[in-house]
Symmetry: C2
Subunit: 384 residues, 2 copies
């Protein structure tokens, strides 16, 4: 087998570090040729000394000199947004792991799509924000997008049990977050500590809050729409507190096919790296009998109004996903600072999304402008 050459955008974050662990275990068939981070230059330098990629890049220009000083002469050190794009172009990678949080990694990911590479998509924002550009582009260049999100990885895996035109529906499972059994009032006034207390997955604060509002599922609806070319009414959310079934596909003959596993990101990361093969993985095997029980509930759109926004953005397409994502990010930031109540995250986001003037087939500039404007409007809304 030919060696697979991997570049990781976001190598010092949680997904990036897990990806390196997976590659350690996979052995000599996979090689790191590029590593990029936002601002953690020390961690990046340590990784670069261990994996000896040909290229490294740091988005934060102020950390460039530090990084360059910390590395020997063999490694090309790049910086800024342009540096990430150059890393994708010049490292001769086969597969780009897109794991930089936010829109900072978007131009580099787009470049990878243009170049027809395989992209392991760990960062929801990429497709939620720029699905309208990325998917038609990938179709033209033959770039393959393999999701790392556990739900979308599940769907990607089980789609192999049928053909694309045989898919009737997709069920995204949702843990329901910490407020699954709370009342509307309790949710509206929830504190930051309440929101950060997630029952099954251990993740960063932004994602954990998105799980509490169920905005994560709203973003996943948009992601699924783009990734699998689905109509919004083909996507259903089912609350499954045990998070064992990662998602399901219903085929036209009435068969449902589901992927199940323990909540371990290494399995979907590795699947994206080894696809179309599977390799032994260190993840804890699932013990169905030990789990004993799985439960399923309908999602409550009144308690979790964010969900509606996901369908809304999926239905509108174009710039709507960028607005949903950016407005929510800004609103979550306000909540974390104590400026708004928990219930206002979805309210503010809804207000901004509802008044957004859609661009159906946007350019990257128009997407980024929609993103900026949404953030501005959230700040204006809260102070008006």
């Amino acid at each position: 087998m030919q060696q697979k050459r991997i570049a990781i955008l976001g190598s010092t974050g949680s997904i990036g570090r897990n990806t390196l662990e997976v590659i350690d275990d996979l052995g000599s068939g996979w090689r790191i040729v590029g590593l990029a981070a936002g601002s953690r230059s020390e961690a990046l330098a340590r990784q670069a000394r261990k994996y000896e990629p040909s290229h490294v890049a740091i988005a934060d220009n102020s950390r460039f000199e530090h990084l360059r000083g910390a590395l020997a002469g063999d490694i090309t050190v790049l910086n800024g947004e342009r540096g990430l794009v150059d890393l994708v172009e010049k490292s001769d990678c086969d597969c780009v792991v897109a794991a930089i949080v936010g829109t900072a990694g978007l131009p580099a990911t787009l470049r990878a799509v243009e170049l027809g590479k395989t992209i392991a998509v760990a960062n929801k924002e990429i497709l939620v924000t720029a699905g309208a550009i990325i998917m038609p582009l990938a179709k033209r260049t033959g770039a393959r997008l393999i999701p790392i999100d556990s739900e979308h990885s599940a769907i990607y895996q089980v789609l192999h049990a049928g053909r694309r035109n045989e898919v009737r529906k997709v069920y995204l499972t949702a843990s329901g977050g910490p407020f699954r059994t709370a009342t509307i009032e309790e949710i509206h006034n929830a504190t930051l500590d309440d929101a950060l207390n997630h029952p099954t997955w251990s993740m960063g604060p932004k994602i954990t809050i998105d799980s509490a509002t169920m905005m994560n599922k709203a973003l996943e609806i948009v992601e699924a729409k783009w990734l699998f070319d689905l109509a919004p009414d083909q996507i259903e959310v089912v609350v499954h507190p045990e998070s064992i079934i990662h998602s399901l596909v219903e085929f036209c003959d009435g068969s449902l096919v589901a992927q199940l596993g323990t909540p371990d990101m290494r399995t979907p990361i590795q699947y994206a790296l080894t696809y179309p093969e599977r390799r032994p993985c260190r993840s804890t095997p699932l013990d169905l009998v030990g789990i004993g029980q799985m439960n399923f509930f309908a999602p409550d759109f009144e308690k979790f109004p964010a969900l509606r926004l996901g369908y809304e953005a999926a239905r509108r397409g174009g710039t709507a996903g960028a607005v949903l994502n950016a407005a929510n990010e800004a609103a979550v930031e306000l909540f974390r600072r104590g400026d708004i109540r928990f219930g206002e995250i979805a309210e503010l986001t809804a207000r901004v999304l509802d008044r957004h003037e859609l661009v159906a087939e946007p350019t990257l500039e128009q997407l980024l402008a929609a993103d900026r404007q949404a953030r501005d409007e959230v700040s204006q809304c809260v102070f008006c």
Copy 2:
């Protein structure tokens, strides 16, 4: 698309009738070219008049004249074991649905395998009894065996989510039958009515009793071993009373993939007929939220000693499956007649299987001899 030409061995039974319904719904792409039954000549004649196959066959020679009298001259009417074989040979079918209960359909099914046809396997006995002959033969001729059993159909479907050498384990789900929560004593002394009271599936009496002893799962272990080329320790049974997950495959990377559905035989029947495509099916869609809960338990080998026999027969291979199947069939018959207690079904079968002298690579004659001998021994055991 080219028309698929179907022959049904066992067209007047439950699977046969469901197959005809499925073909009615599928429309013009599928055509019945052969129909065969055991002894129900009137039902067979009615079917033949409706579907106008080129060939019909009746296994029971005493019903031959009746059948021939009931049908017009265009349809070739065959009879006896040889008649079933001729039907497979002469009807120019692409796909044989093997649904004749017992070993009566075995020579005809073997002929279909020899001729490299697609065989939709509805009858467990075929592979349990003759897997040692059928699978190597199918490998040589390129015959494709697609199971209709809901568990094996599930496995067949989800195997497409990976490669064969990536399978770590297969989980056969079991409803647990009517005695799942009963004590050993209650099970041992269960009445025929108790045993026929199955919680989820509505099936014939023999299969329902097999479900109560869990011998059905034992037979499925043997079937899975042959069909999917698995070692016995790659096959696990998990009790899942709701029977929603029809079975699961665990891949080497820790991912489990499962097929789920309502308990409707039409889905696996149709899958076998349309494979590798899927077509819309009239089966009731699964409502996960309506179901609400799924439970999983370890099987109890003390309460259900039949399970051990499945592993034993799978481990030994050769003629062992034929003995397991035949001894069980004879013991179930004795139980239905009131000659033995419920608990003695597995006991008698175990005794016969334990003393059987294995033929590792049997001929069809040796398999049928082992089958006959096992039945004789069951009768001898009970009267000694």
